[in-house]
Symmetry: C2
Subunit: 352 residues, 2 copies
Amino acid sequence: MARRRQSVTIKHVAADAGVSLQTVSRVINKEPNVRPEMIERVQASIAKLGYVPSIAAQRMGGSRSYLILALNDRERTIAGWQSREGTDWVDQMLLGGMLTCARHGYRMIVELVDTHSDHIERELLAAIAALQPDGVILTPPHSENPLIIDLLAEHRISFARIGSVKPGPGFALTMDDERAARLATEHLVGLGHRRIGFIAGPDDFELSGWRVDGWRGAMAAAGLATDGLLAQGDFGYASGTAAARALLDALDPPTAIIASNDQMTLATLALARERGIEVPADLSLISFDDTPIVRFAHPPLTAVVQPIAEVSAKAVELIIADQAGQVDGSQPIVVPARVEVRNSTTAIRETE
Amino acid sequence: MARRRQSVTIKHVAADAGVSLQTVSRVINKEPNVRPEMIERVQASIAKLGYVPSIAAQRMGGSRSYLILALNDRERTIAGWQSREGTDWVDQMLLGGMLTCARHGYRMIVELVDTHSDHIERELLAAIAALQPDGVILTPPHSENPLIIDLLAEHRISFARIGSVKPGPGFALTMDDERAARLATEHLVGLGHRRIGFIAGPDDFELSGWRVDGWRGAMAAAGLATDGLLAQGDFGYASGTAAARALLDALDPPTAIIASNDQMTLATLALARERGIEVPADLSLISFDDTPIVRFAHPPLTAVVQPIAEVSAKAVELIIADQAGQVDGSQPIVVPARVEVRNSTTAIRETE
DNA sequence: GTGAAAGCGCTAACAA
DNA sequence: TTGTTAGCGCTTTCAC
């Protein structure tokens, strides 16, 4: 492969416009102290020559890299892709994050890291050294990983923590899981359900706790007890089956169940079917997170829709804005989830 | 944000190892003419200091950018993400492409371009100028777009064309759609079906034709006629409904249908259900492409599984290998698709 | 086999 | 408001 050079550089533009490199640079970076007529002249040359600055050179010059890293957990992400079960977290993230990046001349690079292992630090440092990203987006369950956060803070890299409410370095963004769980519970309460079970997610996800809190809060507000109505899974299908079994085996089983993710909800649905429990007639079901299989399940499931794309977009915007001035990151950004009612929830039977 | 500098540079390594920059560079790039003991000494320093070369600087120095672009059609990709219907093309591509990139120290950047518009050229040139990628991966329906191909060839950028068999610049990779369609058809023939309908994809996808060819070939080989058994859609759900209707409205309707993608298959399934035609008892159904909704449909659909991840991985490998020496790209790489039999296909009823 | 020089395309700091 | 100078971290010549 031949040594590849930029065909049109800032020099060409400068020459064509009859100005110095610096002026062109200023125009590109929308810096002040350039006369409007100069701006126009330079922009004309840029358009004429089809000039596009080299990101590598911009980075070398000491400014931005125009790269934002989206950090995901390697194991979980790959498992999701391999199973082909429609976990569209990454897609939604790209939808929001990548498009927003593009709009600002940035690129989003997805990096998978072994977040649970002890070489996160090495992996992250290597990524930072190689790419020198302007920002990093953290996704659950790593949004509050102190190792990552400290490292990023030390390196003065702007970063966003999706699914976090903690203050501290980095921007916290949340879909308000507690509220979402409350809404879901209230929906069921409104349908007359009094025994509403909840299948929680694993503890290494902060949001697992928030969802339980939301459910508990709504139950309490409605004057309903929660004893024996809470089970826990690990977001996997098998764990969902076990949790659902525990709930349904009770003497006084729930008439409705909210499960903390799609797989556990589907497991519950399958168990119900296996036992001849009809959904929604005998059991109402709500899925936390609205993945494709949830939408296309039979019946299509009522679900909590998490605005992953919007949150990702917001994260990117915060990071980009942070490059320029100080952005106030003291308060977490809230992009609330909502409940999409489909056919897996219905009013409780009068006859019971 | 403070001007960010590399913490450990090649200079530090050189100083630590007591050699020149050059020697370090040679070791990094595995160039010849370095004594083994030198290599070892340098690598020890690299490990000790945790040095990772800056991709931007490497690019500036005139070598690779360690960036590979995956080019997808903007409109289709975004539509897929927004519909949340589980089109996992991008995921599978990341699974194969991104991971393979990572293994070689490369990164994959997904770029969406308005491939149908007249400013593809501008968009692509801009991406090339900004990123200076070492390679580009083209996906259908753009894998044989002459505008893109010529542009890439002119710029001497290695590229791969996924879903193409044409020789020419760039590496052609195919999942052998014709064979896949033949296999699917043969599966149905083996089950006793004689009237097997086919819903083709739009003509702007080369592969649409290949699939029809495969079906035609298998039908001919089995001595079966194809008159009135071919319909065409545009990969959209509505078009699938129309095509299925055309097929099923015939005087002598097919007992089995193969549709060229998931949406059209699901549309056919829905239409059948609407008309009281039971799948698979009354109608066998095969989907081309095995997306999540196909796997979780009722019944789970027999489908052609396209090895998108493997093909993407192969594409990345070819591009990376091409950076060094000449890779023989005269023959298309074939990674065959296979048929996954599920519950939407069954032996034809004897009573008919 | 190894090292010193020059330069990639750009921006920061300074000067005018 | 504009231009000049000196790097950024690396690779590519080309000497030794």
